[in-house]
Assembly symmetry: C2
Homo-oligomer: 127 residues x 2
Amino acid sequence: MVSNDKIMNKPEKINLQEKFNLISEYRAPKIVGELNGQHVKLVKLKGEFIWHHHQHEDELFLVVKGRFTMCLHTGDIDLAEGDLIIIPRGVEHKPVAEEEVEILLFEPATTVNTGNVINEFTREATY
Amino acid sequence: MVSNDKIMNKPEKINLQEKFNLISEYRAPKIVGELNGQHVKLVKLKGEFIWHHHQHEDELFLVVKGRFTMCLHTGDIDLAEGDLIIIPRGVEHKPVAEEEVEILLFEPATTVNTGNVINEFTREATY
């Protein structure tokens, strides 16, 4: 899955804050790494996302800066810096961030941000 | 790959610092999450690890607290809090930490900590 000889042969450091500083758009995941068919993505959220699930992919959210609430049908979970949560495939979820939050996502390269829902929030992750 | 109905149906928050506080042994990875056949592990390192590589697994290191040096044949890379590095399969590496460092690892569930080398540093990751 590694598409780049440079990455393959000469690992390089990725500083999360530097990468987040380059992101100006909310809900637009940026791919910063790839391993074992999985993507490491960074996303800034603010506001309410949509209820959705991923049929075939488990998804990890790690809060790098700020806080947000993961709404779940089993109860909402507040997450702050240094918290992570894994949303198993099939589990409906809706992230809500009152203020800007910086999140690291870890998920299969095939994952679409809005899962089973395709709407104006649907965005292809970019490099 | 999810082995637990509770995890499957009711995602729970994982606070990294709380989990690290439970770790008293160096070089003994603890599994704190599982998704898509991959493990999220936490490990504390201090001192010099060994040169090794993983034949079939790419490995992600994210510094949660402290700093360490990833020795590579292409040059050493210093990593501090908020830095990550992906070591592709086959690439020899040796982590060295002068002081205690807390690292999140992301790698396939099959990964052995010392890769191709089996010695006194080899440890099975535990929950």
